[in-house]
Symmetry: C2
Subunit: 215 residues, 2 copies
DNA sequence: TGGGTAAGTCAGCGATCGTTTACTTAGCTA
DNA sequence: TAGCTAAGTAAACGATCGCTGACTTACCCA
């Protein structure tokens, strides 16, 4: 066997990150105590303050981790088809290891910095989806529909986490089919969906000028 | 002016319920303290224990209130068209008074009884939607798609609560158009939705033949 | 092989949590 | 109008929260 060092700061840090991501995603920020996390990680509580300054710092570190993973995946899926597959995978893929990390994007800590990361990431994902649909990322109507696809995906994650049957145990392939229909209906490249709307969307577009995604 | 009784148990109870519903929906269960609620309501903290036994009891009372409101609305909208309108209204309607009460259905208190109310309500809403679509409430594939519509609605509520632009400030009529497309794609009475995809969806339907949960 | 330092432990701080108890007071009725 | 009861108040309980500072110990290198 590999003789693991009994004292390894990087490994301990990672243990804390893993435990925290699970707890924060599953139970939420304020329902999770630092002692819960430390116990799960099999590590002393004081090390959270040492490695992450504070509980908020630990949460931000968790958030940065999932955001990085997510941006990496998004970067590799630029077409509408592969993006749809990515969504179905992230939503319905096997999460035997950890609870679905998309949940972390919906957990609020009350910390302003973390909140900003959350919002920036969600905004970036929407724009990516709009681009994948063949449109411009600042077309407000298209962006709205892209965010609705995002909302459907995140809502599905939540309901699955709530163990709502049969959605909770639906397979990834079933979800893929549904999301293909959903994406086709909302983001179809051919604009045939002029069913029934008629009001202005202009003023909503202007105030969405936040920082952009970086690799 | 009307001279309101300075001591009115029913009115005070309602003040607490209103303040609690707002706080629980906005900030979540564990991030809200009973002192927050009592202060918002302009009422002494001890009255929460008196009228609702505990913080959990207060949360259950809030949940029952929104569930009753919701079931009332659902009862009056049995067709797929009116149900779609109801969804758009609940999701995008003016929530100047209170934060969107659908949020409460997604807030977990850790209390088992409250969790059961939550799950039962979500399950019931899905079945209602499946029936409105002209199907049977125990058809697992249809129920899955109905729950996906539900997921889209709830996800939208969450992203609007997170103030994601332009979704957060989109008008009800814009949302109505989107949700009409979405419902048409997922719950179209005529099963023509096997068209748009090239991947197989058939074997996915086969393994989902087991009997589902009870009404 | 001994010493320096990073890694980890331990106990406890002050604050806040939900809840309870003893008390005061307003309002209806006899 | 006297008095009883329900409505509301004030204070504090024990538990738990996030966090800190002093301490111990394992590991690496000279």
């Amino acid at each position: 066997m590999t003789n693991p060092r009994r004292r390894d700061a990087a490994a301990t840090r990672q243990l804390l990150l893993d435990a925290a991501r699970r707890r924060f995603a599953e139970d939420g920020y304020s329902a999770t105590s630092v002692r819960d996390i430390a116990t799960d990680a099999g590590v002393n509580v004081a090390l959270i303050s040492r490695y992450f300054t504070s509980k908020e710092g630990l949460f931000r570190a968790c958030l940065r981790g999932t955001v990085d993973d997510l941006k990496q995946s998004v970067f590799e899926n630029t077409t509408l088809e592969s993006a749809t597959g990515l969504i179905a995978e992230k939503v319905g893929g096997p999460h035997t290891e950890q609870p679905n990390q998309l949940l972390l994007l919906l957990r609020s800590s009350g910390d302003e910095a973390a909140e900003q990361i959350r919002l920036d990431t969600l905004g970036s994902l929407g724009r990516r989806l709009a681009v994948a649909a063949g449109g411009e990322p600042d077309d407000p109507e298209l962006l709205l529909r892209a965010q609705l696809v995002l909302a459907a995906a995140l809502g599905t994650v939540i309901l699955r986490a709530a163990r709502l049957q049969p959605l909770a145990t639906a397979g990834q392939d079933e979800l893929t089919g549904c999301f293909q229909n959903l994406v086709a209906a909302l983001l179809a490249p051919a604009p045939e969906r002029t069913a029934a709307e008629g009001t202005a969307t202009e003023e909503a577009a202007a105030e969405n000028a936040g920082p952009e995604e970086q690799a």
